[in-house]
């Protein structure tokens, strides 16, 4: 399995209410072991998946959002968030989890994983992919 493909995980749904977000993250974590070129895209209500300060106590579900912080350690460090989706929901970059990774090409300098992109830029990125998982 030497061929490297571009995989994008598309996350469009709110973190709770359905299981898609949690089960998408499970695929990302398993998939990281395959050393492919991986990116994540968050748009529509999917942007809420990586919102800060999630509290699920009152709905009796597990808050799995801390797991996103581990993605950098799995070499999953291209996280695209659609600008228009943030704006439509009154969110800014400050409302999102502080997702970082260490760049091994630059002496392990800590860098931001999240890149806010326009709908058009995201469409172009999706166009470049070999495999898209949309959950």
């Amino acid at each position: 399995m030497s061929e490297i493909k571009k995989f994008m995980y598309v996350n469009r749904r709110a973190p709770y209410g359905t299981i898609y977000a949690l089960e998408s993250l499970e695929v990302v974590l398993i998939g990281a072991a395959f050393e492919q070129d991986v990116s994540l895209a968050f748009f529509d209500d999917g942007v809420f998946q990586i919102a800060k300060n999630q509290d699920t106590k009152d709905v009796g579900m597990k808050n799995f959002s801390p797991t996103y912080k581990a993605l950098g350690d799995y070499d999953v460090n291209k996280i695209y968030v659609e600008k228009e989706s943030l704006e439509a929901r009154g969110l800014t970059l400050d409302d999102l989890l502080d997702l970082k990774y260490e760049d091994e090409d630059e002496d392990w300098a800590e860098k931001d994983s999240i890149r806010v992109v326009s709908k058009k830029e995201l469409a172009d990125l999706m166009d470049e992919q070999d495999v898209i998982f949309s959950f």
């Binding site: 398993i30 072991a33 395959f34 492919q36 898209i132 949309s134």
Partner: protein, 130 residues
Amino acid sequence: MKFSILVNEGPYTHQASDSAYRFTKAALDKGHEIFRVFFYHDGVNNGTRFTVPPQDDRNLQKLWSELSEKHNLDMVVCIAAAQRRGIMDENEAKRQGIDGNNIAPGFRISGLGQLIEAGIQADRLVSFGD
């Protein structure tokens, strides 16, 4: 062309499994190769032999099982998703101490790595869901 198929919804509530079945069958009839069909999320519910739909309706599980037998189709049910939803094969039932199993013929339970591999090996991965 070599396809992989991802089915993300269970039978009947959504049309996804019907569409996936028809796509898979049409691709095979045209001489294409199906590397694997992977069942995820509620899609794992396509793999229980305990569904008994009304006799005048289609039986999706049987359709998949027959297609698998005819074409030696690899049909994989995600283990993590299956455990949440009560889809068991004999080994898994024994491991979990459950008093029975319901996996349908032609389906096998395995890990998510099989989905990633399906994406790597196929020319196209086609998803069926909402």
